[in-house]
Symmetry: D2
Subunit: 386 residues, 4 copies
Amino acid sequence: MPTGLWLIGARGSVAVTSVLGMLALRAGLTAPAGCVTELPAFAGTGLPGWDDLVVGGHDTAALPLLKKAEALADAGVVPARLVAALGAELTTVDSEVRPAPQASDQAAAAAAIQADLADFARRHGLDRTIVVNVASTEPAAVPHPAHADLDALRAALRSAEPVLPPSALYAYAALSAGCPYVDFTPSTGTRLPALTQLAEYQGLPYAGHDGKTGETLLKSVLAPMFAMRNLTVRSWSGVNLLGGGDGANLADPATNAAKAASKQRVLSETLGYRPEGDCRIEYVEDLGDFKAAWDLVTFSGFLGTKMRMEFTWHGCDSALAAPLVLDLARITAAAHRSGLRGPLPELAFFFKDPLDPRGEVPHGLAAQWHALESLADRLREAEEAR
Amino acid sequence: MPTGLWLIGARGSVAVTSVLGMLALRAGLTAPAGCVTELPAFAGTGLPGWDDLVVGGHDTAALPLLKKAEALADAGVVPARLVAALGAELTTVDSEVRPAPQASDQAAAAAAIQADLADFARRHGLDRTIVVNVASTEPAAVPHPAHADLDALRAALRSAEPVLPPSALYAYAALSAGCPYVDFTPSTGTRLPALTQLAEYQGLPYAGHDGKTGETLLKSVLAPMFAMRNLTVRSWSGVNLLGGGDGANLADPATNAAKAASKQRVLSETLGYRPEGDCRIEYVEDLGDFKAAWDLVTFSGFLGTKMRMEFTWHGCDSALAAPLVLDLARITAAAHRSGLRGPLPELAFFFKDPLDPRGEVPHGLAAQWHALESLADRLREAEEAR
Amino acid sequence: MPTGLWLIGARGSVAVTSVLGMLALRAGLTAPAGCVTELPAFAGTGLPGWDDLVVGGHDTAALPLLKKAEALADAGVVPARLVAALGAELTTVDSEVRPAPQASDQAAAAAAIQADLADFARRHGLDRTIVVNVASTEPAAVPHPAHADLDALRAALRSAEPVLPPSALYAYAALSAGCPYVDFTPSTGTRLPALTQLAEYQGLPYAGHDGKTGETLLKSVLAPMFAMRNLTVRSWSGVNLLGGGDGANLADPATNAAKAASKQRVLSETLGYRPEGDCRIEYVEDLGDFKAAWDLVTFSGFLGTKMRMEFTWHGCDSALAAPLVLDLARITAAAHRSGLRGPLPELAFFFKDPLDPRGEVPHGLAAQWHALESLADRLREAEEAR
Amino acid sequence: MPTGLWLIGARGSVAVTSVLGMLALRAGLTAPAGCVTELPAFAGTGLPGWDDLVVGGHDTAALPLLKKAEALADAGVVPARLVAALGAELTTVDSEVRPAPQASDQAAAAAAIQADLADFARRHGLDRTIVVNVASTEPAAVPHPAHADLDALRAALRSAEPVLPPSALYAYAALSAGCPYVDFTPSTGTRLPALTQLAEYQGLPYAGHDGKTGETLLKSVLAPMFAMRNLTVRSWSGVNLLGGGDGANLADPATNAAKAASKQRVLSETLGYRPEGDCRIEYVEDLGDFKAAWDLVTFSGFLGTKMRMEFTWHGCDSALAAPLVLDLARITAAAHRSGLRGPLPELAFFFKDPLDPRGEVPHGLAAQWHALESLADRLREAEEAR
């Protein structure tokens, strides 16, 4: 069951950590800590194995994967011994990374991406290729009338002026090439009516948005706790200190506002009201790939007594995100194989801002886990029915 | 549906906060924050209303409830305005608090307790009385052969030497008097084979142990989060700084050891292994009824990358415990009314160390909530079938 | 030695807490916790006693001091028993609070302020009056050519257009009336060349700026610790969550920027370099008069090993500021009495952004304390020489 | 000015980090971060340079320094590149480490230690050798009458039964051999009247006890801050989670009690009273050479308003201790060279539990720094007088 994993942003920290980890798992050099798909709930669900995955991708950066992996090892993100042991394998993956296409218009760029995907699939005899966006977060997309309709979009892509932000252009190309698309970032991706139509038309599954790796993960278990105990959350304020590639980007007020809003959404969804307080993102270069988040929650209990909790989270973003990228690729591959199409809201467990076409997606982590287990059950049944 | 709530330790902080809160709810002077039974899940389940509850109890202390409530107001635990408004009602409840019985042997003491309960029920025309233990935590019980069998116990109670610790003596008396028994403390209560036989024989429901109000509550959502994400918890160390009545008691090494062990149990039950680390209890008088808990969790993710989180919880024990005492009384009353008998493992949501007769009780809070919802559904069905 | 204390912003939280505290100290109803001038270092320095102080002030607000004090008691900032005991005394002080003057131009407004001060001094037979600004923080002043010269300023004040921000207008009026002026806020106050000339001409002492009550206080002991141990501070990031009157004001980006910069200055001054990181102020209404600050410090030690510390500070701004207001009034009164004139850099101990005319003021708290002790010694000598 | 540095416990984490750092500084491969003696205050004070130091020592362990350094690099305590670059130099130092002497009685053991020291000095042509104890913490010494008098001690050392704990036996041998002795641990060392007599008789300087590297360092700046602001500290509770070699040892209740007491002493000495609260040490193997300390301080300010602060310290013990070991060796060498004799209370800056023969040693860090600067001034004067 050879399965392609095509990474947009293939030379970034998350991508390289994912690739190194996949190679290490394949070689038996590490345990699958952090991989949700290795839990018993996923036994027998027809996921591609570590040996089945073939990785390629696009990136605007030129730094070879091996060099990037060495830099990650120096920063304490990945073990140096794995980089030393897997240099040849990293270089092999590196040979499958293509530069972002340069073209006269976006239609041509999309065609070039599709050609890269087709060539990749053909050369490796792949059953399917899952495209996952792990590139840097984009600014919010500039609205355009052609976003509303697939035919209009196809026409507009041939104009000189760009119509789609990069994440949506890659989504367009992926779906056009018959590849399921997963967006691990807060960027636009498939979130345009024209692209939803395209996925529908192609009969492809897709998923997103914005991998849930730290503060929001904690909120998704703590907010339900307050709700289940009928405690009134008065304020919830947080600050995220991020270094690394995405830190400077996310601390930019334009990008920040959208992200910060999506990070507070879990509160209103699980509590039923929006407590006071905001969630800030600050760039602190010294933290590198690690981030430090501090949250203060004030709440009141019986007879109005005021109480509070605080937490600090010291996480390594790449180490938290990378196994989820592999999980999403594997599950989406199995979903595609079993004939699922359209948005996959059952993957909300993985995302800060999950696709929620019918407004039914739960935001508490336990409920999201149940939804994910149900999906695993469906995949298992499909697998057993083969 | 007049329902008795009989509190062992009726003059303590938790009891007095419960009583004041119930009176304030009845008078419409406060909102039911912290009351789980006021969530929509409990609609139509036949719980006694705030007007239905009649409170009495036993205590060795003599300080009137009103005085205790004033002291709690001075300490910031309850609002002074409620104490001022409800002085007469507190004094009425006070008149129903009996001194702990003095008797020649434990059989006579039990008989005196039963007489107090019968008199209370008769005078108020109660349908049933729920006995809830909120007294100070006892040292671990001294084993005795008569604990193993009800007949042997009945005989032994007539000897001069005490056989049962107080919590178990009250449980014996309550069950003998036909009253369901709930233990909100880590003390022995019904956890002796002889008392299990007695509850069985009497056809009564019972529940316990050790109300879950702070650090363990947080563990019961955070540990499942690590498990669901397949992250390896390496160590989980905590310290609890407690003032107030139970602080000095719990910081005593003998009491502490049992309690600390029960506080780490949630980790092994939800993670499937026992991470390194302990949970300490220290007495800091200055904190009064508030407690401060700090936990450090070290964990490793993908490729072994080490990360950590910390949290601090500044809670008011009485304000967190009191609404749960009312919740437990109401649910146990409805369970009794609907004919349930034996242990109520569905109440694990409320306890650090839940009764678990068949080893099936979940320790993650979300799973415990589901079990509680199922119980509510059964109660609702029973109610609808009336 | 009757001494006036004239508060700009006399009906605000800090002012009312100061006044209530002074009255309570005078009546022997509280201990002088938080009052630096009650430490042994100030014995025999000729400070006015609690009985010597007579309080008045200006405010735009109309809420009586007693009502404000009751609101502070409800918020847990001051004890209700003191408000109850000192109602008459608060009302007496209230009768000395004047509305902010309405006038055709700022010259006339200044004259009205001077008349209020002169009337206050005459009626109470005061030796001197210290004017202390505790009003809300202003936006940064709009530059004006007349700020550079006293004569130009005097002329410009008669124009219809306002030339001075309120804090500077009060400083102008105070100095013109022969009153020492202390600015407890980050506002402009005396920080204009024209006002420095005026203070010089009048031979008056003055002091400021911005009372040091929380996070900056901690920085002023922690940063020197890192310096003395030759540890390299890599980043120092902080967030301040403030409710209360000044919170909304300070979280405003315009006000915030100036304040945040002054809060990081202690780092560069004591470390000798400016570590990465910023200091944010956020408004969280629920916190009321309390504030919560969290700081993360990353540092490296021997052989570059990376380490970190975090702290959280849960302080009550009014309770921290009020005794310092009294301290500053007492010390400035003694300084005036002993003939000191010009800026008082020895009061840097009290300020985030101390006046530092010769660039010699230390920013570490211990060094500031030594400077303050030296001032106390000079005052004692002057007193002994009388 | 060839100067010996003789380390008791030469193969432990602190010793090996010290040696590696000294070699790296000598080779210009690292900056002297964490070295107090590299601050401007020590310019011209006649300290031995990095090239002047020759290192040897005793240890019961056999693991070569290079292997230990590699293990420390794996644990993230020291950089692997330094270990790789300095392997030969580490091996050279290793050849100067002697096994702990086996002898029939302690007199013979002391003689063997003296012989090792003399041989070391002769072979390297050393001007002087400073002996520094960095071995694991001992249990409290068993009292013995011979501890009170040097002659009695000399006689008792010839009995079969051991009289001195190891740290004191090494101190006895060092002083007998004419070497100044510094104790970086909480063990007994020179703290016996007989050894004080010996140091006196030999005219040697000595210093100790217990290097101040984390929580106590913070207390020594924070407690004076509360005192200078006249804020009342109500409670100060702390927990230290330690892995590494000394963690298991210190968490032992016997060792722990003495250490914990010495860690709270700074509070009573700087505040003038002893606040409530204790300081716990717990062993958490997973933390390795790093430690995590959490402290909660509750305090009250003006009018009794209750406030609090918390801090967490994530430090690497070896990285914090090692440069201080080098500092102490260099300063003690210069003190010896300049003719100083007896205890060196001016080194209190470095210690949790400083020698304080006349009860005059300050416990606030700023005051300790002033005392250290004064010592530096004396050394500079002595150096200039040569």
